[in-house]
Symmetry: none
Subunit: 603 residues, 2 copies
C-alpha cells in the first residue's frame, strides 16, 4: 500500500496561561509560529451558495461553518491554522448553546481562541448566526528551484517525477491537503473506494498499466457478467445482457434509429485526427464546432431513444448535457479514447476495464513518494505567478518560490484563480471558454452483492436521474460490495442542492425502483458521497468542455506555453482526455517541453 | 512633465471561494502576500479631533472612516492593505444601510472582508457607529546600504541624489504615498495647482533656479500689476497699488508708526549673522530670544496698525501669531531670506517671485526620478532608528534597513514620531521646543481672471480671517485662473474645524466681501483645499518655530549629528529657512556631512 504524504503542520500555536480559568471549548491564546501568511475572513452566515438561508438555526450554524471551511480552504488554511474565532448569535440561550456540538465537530481537536457575542440581530433579519476567523499559515523560506509545478494531480506529479529524474530541482505546490486531484481513494472498513477516477486498461492505456505494475497495485476486472438494468426511456425498464443495445427490443424502428445514429457518430468520430482535429476538412470541422452535440444529433434526425441514450453518454462521460458542448469537441474527446464505443466500454481495451484494489489515488501517492523529500508542499494554493527576468515568482499560501520554469497543471477553468503577471489574455479567454461538468458519486455499500445472485451486473442506465449510471465497484478480497451511482449532468444539479439525508434517500430510493423488480435489494450498510462541482479545487469533473465555436478558436491555445509557463492536465492530452491516462501523458509532455526549453532533454 | 514614482503594491490578497454566495460589498477571504507587518486599529468612532461627536449618524460614519484612514496612514497602510473590517451600528436598519455608500466611497475598488454587527449601544450614548480594521503591509527584504534617508521631501531627496552621485548606496524611506513633502501639486482640469510650496526666484534662490532649469520647468512671474485689497484694520478696506504700504493713508500718525516699526524691525533683522545668530552681541540676542515677537513690538511702542500688519506677516510666513514665537527666532528667520522686506516680496529677488507651471512637486518628482531604481520606498513611515555597532537599523512600515549613516529629513516636531535607541535627549528636547504653524490653502478657480479687469492684482490682506492673504495663482497658458487664499495662524484654527462645505462658504463669502466693492466677483468653478495642520506627516506648515528662550538653547542642536544620524530639513538651513531653497541647501549639507564622516568627500 502506497503511503499518502503527511499534511503540513499548523501555523498557530494555541495554549492557556497559567492560573487562569480555562474552558474545554477554546484556548485563551494563540500565536504564529515563525513567518506566517495571515488569513482573515468576512463574517460567514448560514446562506447557501444560491443565497437561500435555512430557517432552522442549527442548519444555519452548519452552513455558516461549511462556508467558513470553504473560505479557509480557498486560502490554503486548515482548521488547525485557525487562531481566533468570533461568533455572533441571535436569540442566544446560555442554557442551550446549540452552536457548541456543531462547532466542536468542526474544530476536531483544535481549540483556537474564541469570543461569543450574543446580538439582537445581524445584517439581515433572517440571519441567526455569524462566524469569522483569523488563521495563520506557516511559510516555507523562499527558495529558487529549476521548476515549480502547480498542482499535484497525476499530470503535475508525473511532470515533477520526470523532471527530477532528469536531474532538475522541482517544487510541487498543491492547493489541497492531499495529492491526487481527482484521484481520491477513501478507506471504508477494511477496503478502499474511489470517489473520483476509477478505471484503467492494460492495452491502450499503457502509461497507467505501467504505473500499476511499478507501484505493485492489484487490478480488478470490471464485472460485466450478467444483465444491466435500463430505466424508462432507455429500454422501458428492463434488463438485458451486458454489451447489447440499451433499447426496447419490441420497438424495431427505435432500435434501427439508435443503431443508425450510433454508427454515424462512431464513423465521424473515427475520422477525427486527434493531433489536429480542426486542420483536415476544415469546412466540416468548423461546421461541427459551430453547433452543439444535440443540434448535430437532431440534424441527423435522431429520435427520442437515440437522444436519451446519448444524453446518458455525455452525462456519464463529461457531466454535461448534449446541448452544452460543441459537437466537434465531443467527437474529438471520444476519439482521444479510441472512439465512443471503446471509451464507454467496460471490456478489454475499454475505458472502464480495470479497477485498482488499493484505489486509484495510489498512483498519485506512489508518484509523490518518488519525489525527493521536501519537494511537495500541500495546502498551498497558488494565487499569483509573476514572470520576472530569468524566471518566474510563484506566490502560494505557504511560501513564495522562484523557478526557471513553471508548469501549471490545474484544470483550465481554474486558471482564473491565479493572477498572472503580466496577464495572459489568451489563457484567460480559454479559461473562460471552458466549463466543468456536474459530476457526483454515491458509493452504496451492502453486506452482499445481492445483484449478482439475480444475474445482474450491477450496471444500470437512466435518463431520468438522480443518477445516470451505476457500476459494481466491489472488492471481493476485502469483503467489500458496493454499487457506485453516478450523479451526472442536468439531473445531478437538483440532486446536489438537496440536504445530505435527502440526497442519500433519493439515491437508495432510485436503486430500489430500478433493481427492485429484478432482485431483492438489500439495505445499505454505508454510503460514501462526493460532489466534484462543490470542490474549491475541482469546480467540476472530469474534464473541461467547450461550447460551440470555442474548440476551433482555443484548441491551439490549450497546450501552448506562455513565456516560462507551461500547461498540462488531462484536457491538454491527445489521447484519453478526461482519463488518468491523459493526465499522465500530458505531464510527460510538459516535462519534455521544460527539458527542451532548458536544454536538458536527452537527445 | 516629470512623472511621480509608482505607489507600493498591496499587502492583502482578497478573493472569494468557489461556490459560495458572494457580495459586491466585501470579499469573503483575505490573506497576506509574503512577509507582512500586521496592523490592527482600535474601534474608530465618529469623534472629531476636539472630542465633539456630530449628532447626525451619517456625519459620524464619515468621521469614523476619516479617523480610520488616519490610523492606517500613521502606520503606513493604505486602504488597499485592509484585510478585514468589523463595524458596529446602533439602530441598524437592514432596509436602509446608510453606512454603505460612505464605506464604498472610502474603499474605492478594494473589497476587504467585513462583518456588520448591529448593536443596542456603544461605549458612550452618543456613539452610533464604530469601525475597526486589520491590515497587512508587505515587507521588503532587509538590506544593508551606505545611507538610509528618512523622508522624501526636497531635503531628503537632495541628500539622496547627492550621495548616489558620490557612489554610495542609498535607501529613501517616505511615510506618504508620494514624494515631495510640502511640495504637492494637484492636477485640476488641464492645469496644475500647488497646495503647498509655490514660489522660487532666479537670483538668491540659486539652488531652486538651477533645479528648474535641470528639470525643464516653465517659470511664471508672480502677478504684481494692479492694486491690492486691504481689509478693515489694515488700511480700512481699500485698494492701493502693489508695493505701497498697506495702511490707511488718511491716518498719517498710523502710517508713521508702521513705517517706524518696520524700519526698526528690518534694521535689527539685517544685523543678524545667520551663521551664528546668537554668538555676537550675546546680551541683546538673549534678550530678544527671551520675549515673543509681539512683546518686542509692544516694547517698541507699536500701535494697532503695525501690530495688525505684522500679525498678517507672521501668519502668512509661519502660520503663527506674533505672540507665539521668539523675537530672535523671527528676526533670524527673516534674515535667512535676506530680510523681512525681501522675504515677503513678490518682485525680483523676493520670496514669491516665480511660480512653476508644472507645479513645485516637479522638483521632487524630478529628484526621485534621478535616484537609482529601487532606492525609494513610499508609504513606509520610520518608527525606530537603532544605532548598532558599525551603523544603524531603521525600522519602517515596509521593511527594516541597515545603514552606515542615517539622514533624518522630517520636520523637527516629528522627531517624536520616531523612537531613537539609544535615546537622543537633546533632539527630543529640541523637537518638543518646536512648533508648526497652522497653514491652509484654498485655491478658488474661476472662468476668467475677473480681478484683473478691474485693475486688481488678486492680492489681498486681512487681519480678520478666515484667510490672511490671497494671491493670483493663474496659469494663463492652461486657461487656469485662480486665487489662492491662505488660511494662516489664529484665524485658520476656527476655520479648519468647520465642516467642509462651511469652510468653502466662509472663503467664498470673504472673497465677495473683500473684492466685491472693487470688482465683479465670479462664481467659483472649482476649489482645491489643503490643511497642512491635519496631515499626519506634516502636522503644520511651513517651518517649525520656537517660543521665547528656546532659540538660544537649541539652535546649535538643530544641525548637530547624533552619532551616525544626521539631520536636514528647511528649518536647519542657514539661508531661506521655510522655503524650498532652504530644504535643498540643507539636503546638500547633510550629504556633505555623511560623505565627510565616511571619508568619501571629494577634497
Amino acid at each position: 500500500m502506497v503511503q499518502p504524504p503527511p499534511k503540513p503542520s499548523s501555523g498557530a500555536v494555541k495554549f492557556n496561561p497559567f492560573n487562569i480559568r480555562t474552558s474545554p471549548f477554546y484556548s485563551h491564546v494563540a500565536h504564529t509560529n515563525g513567518p506566517c501568511t495571515i488569513v482573515t475572513t468576512a463574517g460567514q452566515i448560514g446562506a447557501r451558495a444560491d443565497g437561500s438561508v435555512p430557517a432552522d438555526p442549527v442548519e444555519q450554524i452548519e452552513q455558516a461553518l461549511e462556508n467558513l471551511r470553504k473560505c479557509l480552504e480557498a486560502a490554503g488554511a486548515g482548521v488547525q491554522d485557525i487562531m481566533k474565532l468570533t461568533y455572533y448569535i441571535v436569540n442566544y440561550d446560555s442554557k442551550n448553546p446549540r452552536h457548541r456540538p456543531i462547532l466542536m465537530k468542526f474544530l476536531g481537536d483544535h481549540r483556537p481562541g474564541s469570543t461569543l457575542v450574543p446580538v439582537e440581530k445581524l445584517a439581515a433579519p433572517e440571519f441567526l448566526f455569524e462566524i469569522e476567523a483569523t488563521a495563520a499559515i506557516p511559510q516555507y523560506p523562499t527558495e529558487r528551484v529549476d521548476v515549480v509545478v502547480v498542482g499535484a494531480g497525476l499530470s503535475g506529479l508525473t511532470a515533477a517525477v520526470e523532471l527530477q529524474k532528469a536531474g532538475l530541482s522541482v517544487k510541487v505546490l498543491e492547493a489541497r491537503d492531499r495529492v491526487g486531484g481527482k484521484t481520491w481513494s477513501r478507506s471504508v472498513q477494511s477496503s478502499v473506494c474511489d470517489v473520483g477516477a476509477a478505471w484503467i486498461n492494460d492495452t491502450n492505456q499503457s502509461k497507467m498499466y505501467t504505473l500499476a505494475k511499478r507501484f505493485g497495485l492489484d487490478l480488478i476486472m470490471q464485472n460485466t457478467s450478467g444483465s444491466i438494468v435500463c430505466d424508462e426511456g432507455i429500454g422501458s425498464h428492463k434488463t438485458h445482457p451486458y454489451g447489447q443495445l440499451n433499447a426496447d427490443t419490441t420497438d424495431q424502428a427505435e432500435i434501427d434509429d439508435i443503431l443508425r445514429i450510433r454508427d454515424i457518430f462512431e464513423q465521424t468520430c473515427q475520422k477525427i485526427d486527434i493531433s489536429d482535429p480542426v486542420a483536415q476538412d476544415q469546412k466540416l470541422r468548423t461546421k461541427l464546432d459551430s453547433i452543439t452535440f444535440e443540434q448535430w444529433l437532431k440534424s441527423l434526425g435522431a429520435g427520442r431513444g437515440a437522444l436519451n441514450a446519448l444524453s446518458v453518454g455525455t452525462r456519464a462521460m463529461l457531466g454535461v448535457e448534449p446541448s452544452e458542448l460543441s459537437a466537434l469537441y465531443f467527437l474529438d474527446y471520444c476519439k482521444s479514447g479510441g472512439g465512443y464505443m471503446q471509451m464507454r466500454s467496460d471490456s478489454k481495451d475499454g475505458g472502464q476495464y480495470l479497477r485498482i484494489k488499493q484505489g486509484t489515488q495510489s498512483f498519485s501517492n506512489g508518484l509523490a513518494e518518488e519525489l525527493s523529500p521536501g519537494s511537495l508542499v500541500l495546502m498551498s494554493p497558488v494565487r499569483k505567478i509573476e514572470q520576472i527576468p530569468g524566471g518566474a515568482k510563484v506566490v502560494s499560501a505557504r511560501g513564495v518560490f522562484e523557478a526557471s520554469r513553471v508548469i501549471v497543471s490545474v484544470p483550465t477553468p481554474l486558471y482564473q484563480e491565479i493572477v498572472f503577471d503580466p496577464p495572459l489574455p489568451e489563457k484567460d479567454a480559454l479559461s473562460k471558454a471552458t466549463k466543468l461538468g456536474d459530476y457526483g458519486k454515491m458509493i452504496v455499500f451492502y453486506r452482499t452483492p445481492w445483484w449478482r445472485k439475480h444475474g445482474l451486473t450491477g450496471m444500470s442506465q437512466s435518463s431520468q436521474g438522480p443518477f445516470g449510471v451505476t457500476r459494481d465497484t466491489s472488492v471481493h478480497d476485502d469483503g467489500h460490495y458496493s454499487l457506485t451511482c453516478f450523479m451526472v449532468g442536468g439531473p445531478a444539479r437538483d440532486w446536489a442542492s438537496l440536504y445530505p439525508e435527502k440526497r442519500k434517500n433519493a439515491v437508495t430510493h432510485k436503486i430500489q425502483q430500478l433493481f427492485g423488480s429484478f432482485a431483492g435489494v438489500e439495505e445499505p450498510i454505508h454510503v460514501e458521497e462526493q460532489i466534484w462541482r462543490n470542490e474549491q479545487w475541482s469546480q467540476g469533473c472530469p474534464c473541461p468542455v467547450m461550447g460551440p465555436g470555442d474548440f476551433t478558436k482555443f484548441q491551439h491555445v490549450l497546450r501552448a506555453p506562455a513565456g516560462r509557463i507551461h500547461f498540462v492536465g488531462t484536457e491538454t492530452a491527445y489521447e484519453w482526455k478526461g482519463y488518468m491516462e491523459g493526465a499522465v501523458r500530458s505531464g510527460e509532455r510538459g516535462a519534455q517541453e521544460v527539458l527542451l526549453s532548458l536544454n536538458k532533454a536527452k537527445m
